[in-house]
Symmetry: C2
Subunit: 222 residues, 2 copies
């Protein structure tokens, strides 16, 4: 059974799901047991994860969860805003009907899960479903930008964003506000106004930015 990819994906999920505290040591010899493989196989996965910033690697000193800091949170959020705004504006500029349709669909799917969460709370695998649907929504938002590189970088930053916002993720707390923000983004997409889109995306991430730097806008004109 080919496990290389599976272990990599599973580990990434665990790394962004709050299973490990920030700064925790990640011992291949320990993680090994869950997958029933050799430590070197885990090592391979951890090395790959370190290349995309989800794991910190130090020569001869092993692997760790990255440390948390508000500065890092701000930095990652700001970078995500940059990439996502850019991707959304470029997608919009291409005037693809298909894009609008796919965005509406992704939004509808997400909305369905979000409203169920408002009623049932976050029981069962609802949070996992929400995370998948939320990712799909944001990926759809930039999917028509025409740049594979931008899409790849966005995914990379997205995972870092999830990782640094896990436990404290206010998206699950401020669910109501989140629902409105997602709708606002879709409306902006359909309106075709890039500046509006820019400010709506920025507003969506407001609470993850340092208060003193929240005004630093980035306007992108295609």
């Amino acid at each position: 059974m080919p496990q290389d990819i599976d272990i990599f994906e599973d580990l990434r999920l665990r790394l962004v799901s709050g299973e490990f505290d920030y700064g925790t040591k990640l011992r291949a010899e320990v993680l090994r047991t869950r997958y029933g493989c050799a430590a070197s196989t885990i090592r391979e996965a951890l090395l790959r994860l370190s290349a995309v910033g989800l794991v910190e690697f130090q020569e001869q000193r092993g692997f760790r969860m990255p440390d948390y800091s508000v500065e890092r949170q701000h930095d990652i959020t700001q970078t995500r805003i940059l990439l996502e705004t850019q991707g959304a504006v470029r997608s919009m500029a291409r005037q693809s009907v298909d894009w609008e349709a796919r965005l509406a669909a992704a939004h509808h799917k997400l909305g369905h899960i979000e409203s169920r969460m408002q009623v049932m709370g976050m029981e069962g695998d609802l949070p996992a479903l929400w995370m998948a649907a939320e990712l799909e929504f944001h990926q759809t938002l930039i999917s028509a930008c025409g740049s594979d590189m931008l899409i790849a970088l966005h995914l990379q930053v997205y995972h870092c964003y999830r990782q640094i916002n896990v436990m404290a993720d206010k998206a699950l707390k401020d669910l109501a506000a989140n629902i409105v923000e997602h709708k606002n983004i879709v409306d902006a997409a359909i309106s075709g106004d890039p500046d509006l889109m820019q400010s709506r995306i920025h507003a969506h991430f407001q609470r993850h930015l340092l208060p003193q730097l929240r005004n630093d806008r980035v306007s992108l004109v295609g």
Copy 2:
């Protein structure tokens, strides 16, 4: 002797220096010989390089140099423009005297090498020196942006940019034009005009963009 990092760095250098043709298979068993290590050590390095886009990895099918295409070249260039413009404008907005000084210094160092190249051609290790100085110049340009994430992503894209532009790199052919462009960027940095900076950086990468899409500007207002 700890070789893990050294092999990783050395392989990256080789990957962006035109040693391998685009699409070439990269066999760990072959690369092994040069470093006198086991194939699995090479594998580790290749996996890490695949995580940052310098190597293509397929489960059970090994590693390859990425394929060349003008679309990919355009995409990478456009992404680099985005990150570099953003980083430069943010650096500028911080009004750091130190930044301007360091940029002037990096530019001077680069200029020295470039003028030697105009006389002596690209003999000896002049190209290697130029590449190092050019990287340092562009890294300095964004060094005061205040975002570690942006700096990391820029370096990642920079390597991809080098890789897809190696042999065909017109920077070495159109050296004279390049010298002027670098100076123009420094002048813009000192002028403090973000729009000017934006257009100067864009102009610098003009020849690596698809002709039909060269007008797609990205203006970034901090």
